[in-house]
Amino acid sequence: KAAFEAKSMAELTKALGLATPTESKDITVTGPDIAENGAVVPLGAATTLPGVKRMMLLVEKNPNMLAALFDFSDAVDPAVSTRVKMGQSSDVFAVAVMNDGRVLYGHKEIKVTLGGCGG
């Protein structure tokens, strides 16, 4: 899918036909400040705002930005956590798509001591 091949936020929003994202303090990204092992970086995305239909986790400097995409129903809280690979230190974004079409994001910088994309 095109979204998973996007290399920048602009490409990603275009691939999904979304509005330009705006930064919001209500979207929180949780993760370590420094990750020793880039192969397993615990990441969480959460928001207190109602009406989130989709949440995406992006790692800016990975070969492809989009790591995971979650579609919520009304029966779950808009909060997920998972573990991702990071090739190098990078900004991590959580992008929330709201029911009314707004696109909001929060971000956090994570430093990686050992990259997770080498082999």
Partner: protein, 99 residues
């Protein structure tokens, strides 16, 4: 796949640990050949047979993926089932009971 669902109040926290290689398609083997990508693409979570969340993943999700989410209105005894499909078309479904 290991699923643990714990009720607290009117919500249940579900933690899922899947067993999967999650090969990115970027690594090379000893002879320099690219190891083909092999990763979970789609995940579906159901609460008592009703889909509550779906996810699409790329190869950047870690090996043996972990996922945590919160289901509203779930109580002890309810069923949570998780299904994944990988990019080779393999699929697996497991079920757990909320405790």
């Amino acid at each position: 796949m290991r699923i643990r669902a714990q009720a607290a109040g009117d919500k249940a926290t579900v933690r899922v640990l899947m067993s999967h290689e999650m090969e990115t398609g970027q690594r090379k083997d000893a002879s320099g050949k690219v190891i083909p990508a092999w990763f979970i693409q789609d995940v579906t979570a159901k609460h008592n047979d009703k889909v509550v969340m779906t996810a699409q993943w790329g190869p950047a999700v870690s090996k043996n993926p972990f996922m945590q989410f919160v289901v509203k209105g779930a109580k002890a005894g309810d069923k949570i089932s998780i299904t994944w499909v990988d990019n080779r078309g393999d699929t697996r479904t497991d079920e757990a009971t909320v405790s």
